[in-house]
Symmetry: none
Subunit: 348 residues, 3 copies
Amino acid sequence: MKLVELAARLEVEFSGDPEATVERVSEFERSEPGAVTMAVGARRGRLDSARASVFIVESTGVTEEERHTYNLLLARNPKATFAKAIHLLHVGCQAGGGIAPDFIIGEGIELGDEVTIHPRVTVGRNCRIGRRAVLHPGVVLGNDVAIGDDTVLFPNVTLYEGVTVGQRCILHAGVVVGADGFGFAQENGHHVKIPQIGTVIIEDDVEIGANSTVDRATLDVTRIARGTKIDNLVHIAHNCRIGEDVVIAAQAGLSGGVTVGRRVAIAGQVGVNPQVEIGEHAVITGQAGVTKSVAPNDVYAGTPITRLRDWKRERIVAAQMPARLPQIEARLAALERALALLSEEEPE
Amino acid sequence: MKLVELAARLEVEFSGDPEATVERVSEFERSEPGAVTMAVGARRGRLDSARASVFIVESTGVTEEERHTYNLLLARNPKATFAKAIHLLHVGCQAGGGIAPDFIIGEGIELGDEVTIHPRVTVGRNCRIGRRAVLHPGVVLGNDVAIGDDTVLFPNVTLYEGVTVGQRCILHAGVVVGADGFGFAQENGHHVKIPQIGTVIIEDDVEIGANSTVDRATLDVTRIARGTKIDNLVHIAHNCRIGEDVVIAAQAGLSGGVTVGRRVAIAGQVGVNPQVEIGEHAVITGQAGVTKSVAPNDVYAGTPITRLRDWKRERIVAAQMPARLPQIEARLAALERALALLSEEEPE
Amino acid sequence: MKLVELAARLEVEFSGDPEATVERVSEFERSEPGAVTMAVGARRGRLDSARASVFIVESTGVTEEERHTYNLLLARNPKATFAKAIHLLHVGCQAGGGIAPDFIIGEGIELGDEVTIHPRVTVGRNCRIGRRAVLHPGVVLGNDVAIGDDTVLFPNVTLYEGVTVGQRCILHAGVVVGADGFGFAQENGHHVKIPQIGTVIIEDDVEIGANSTVDRATLDVTRIARGTKIDNLVHIAHNCRIGEDVVIAAQAGLSGGVTVGRRVAIAGQVGVNPQVEIGEHAVITGQAGVTKSVAPNDVYAGTPITRLRDWKRERIVAAQMPARLPQIEARLAALERALALLSEEEPE
């Protein structure tokens, strides 16, 4: 692709030779002619050390000399532009298309145009599969499942009965959506299963990482809103409501009935207690235990959960205690001895 | 189903119109005619705000007016009765029944009456599958696996060779039972695999959540006793012995050789050290690290593990330290200054 | 099926009796009349020792005598032709060694000698599968995957496009290798996917536990070096580099770009921050949060990470604080009172 076309498709300006040819994306350090790479931070100062044909740089502060020496894509957000360049140059060639001859389906299925269904896919009754959706080998859909246009289900994904997945979603291998919520009543010392007859709705543009699990609601809906991104091995329990554009990192776990506001960021291995509410734009740092609801727009850490700045202060003091405590007690003892001495000296 | 029949099948008394018809279960707030719902707590006082045909209420303290105005199911344990009502009205209709034509089996298999085997199921040699068992698509059984009556294996469950699962168990999608325990010997700086030739026995009425893993024992048996319920993404290592009616929440992990007493409750993301013993009826709170054996009948928290009340006290003090410590040191300094002053003033 | 028809359907030339009948595929050593088998390598020189009616051989170097003595299918890629023959001739049930009749493969596959491919296995284009490798039911390989000799993939393992696995590796059921790394750029408050076009290389003698996940690198390689052993439900993010002979216990999680030195031991439920480096022979104890890089040859604990001996000291003091702090404050108050008394008594 020529630089002029690449710039147009990435919707950024460029400088340099419009006819320069770009065939692939590469890392800065290993770039070769024919590649486009990104140069931000310290790398911006040493464009001459890389062999790429085109550099994505921040649009501000470009010198006249840089404009004359290099082919540049001038981006307001170089990282996002780089991501789009990868999309443009590398993605989209994997699926052969078409429907495998061994496709096993129930009655009443609706298949959109241009779906790709790999071998070993099993689909229950009354499912709807949107246009250009891709179902990889081993995917299993229960009855009454709906999948939106352009959604990709990687191998061995299981969607239980009645689950709905929106458009442009990506569910990685081994994801399970719609298994029973973990709910039991107590009776005579035994756990009696509370049947889970709700469902799961995953809205558009959601990505879920490998082997993550999203449970169906007891009676109602477990919902993951538009644009939310979930990493590997994450657990979302029954009746959770995850807002838009949330990020949840690997191995985090949300208990039943948790509400997560839009644009919240939850780091790896975080645990969240049942029924807790996490306010919009809040950030929960790694391994924290969200033991109670937290307000929007702040950063939290620790178990029990507290504001990050308080947690840091507490951690610093705690680390100092083995040294500071004996000092305090020594000073106390010295004072006590001195005072005892003084009292003895007192003219009685 | 008529109210009189519903009450009989739920084994509770009722009041109101025996001919009232119930077709489904619903949430209190959204209930419609034809539904049965549960009214406990604050909802009990506002039965008139719901449109359900029948209410499950606690059997004590029902007024004469309530008896005349509403159709009631009078339960000693409303939650358990509600759970049974869901079972009765909603579950059991999903599978078409029968054995898929592409069922791949080894020699010597025994199939119980009325088993349902979905497409894409693979079963090794000498397996026994109990009556009315359901094997969903993608299930794989190694050789010599036994599954009890009425047990359900959801899609893509894998049972390794020799594993035994009891009656009325539910294994959700992606569960793996019987993979090798994680055991290695050291030799010349390398890890030499210790072959894991034991097995796993899962007793009756056990439920295991999506993508959880239970490893086979090194030589003996990893055992999960009757009635135990395990959530998603839980790890049970080799040679663990889990007692009856235990509950283990999502993402908890048990190291090798752990013993868990009956009716223990382990919360989410708890980790348990190798060979530790958790006494009967103990409760381990979320994210705790069970670094040593703990006594029965108490509640534990933190890493290293401690009694919950001690952990709470410790956490409160730790949170106060950033404020209290400077105060203490200021008071010490003031005392030291005052004492120095006094000493100077002393008539020497 | 007659030889002439078989050759046509396999799209290869043949020599011998066009009317020769072939009913099934069999292994070379056990072949009987009516079977087609493959003769490559050492077997090519001893066609007379087998009883098959038809042999699939490489099309080059066929002697005039061979042409006259045997019925031959002359294949450019005998293994691929053999695989297609299995597909063509076998419908229905089979298990045990050899290659299952329902093996679904893309073009250009290379199969080593004595591979075992169970039913329900799906393999993409241009894959290489080493000698004596075993692929259990439900295994899915994307395009361009390479698997070394003697490697075992247990049921429902998924290897995404382009992944490489070395020799003598064991990947337990449900393992996912090569799913997209969790990388997003921010744009107008939304998360824009950064395509992950790198890959994963797993070297020789690696074992990975059930349902663990290893993500592909963004542009480069996620690498797990020789001899490393990984337990169940472990998460290895994009661009991690794990050294040789490392041990990682269950439910540990490594963020993006983590470097782990050789012979490191990481205990269960440990979390590691992005870009952190763990020095050789370091030991990280259970549930620790490796918040920054740590030096070789030491033992670490806690979140934030610290040396084990410091962490222990800190934990001991923290546990004592609820008792020691009130004592300190009582002694302070006593001193303050005593001093006040002394000051009052002072002759002013």
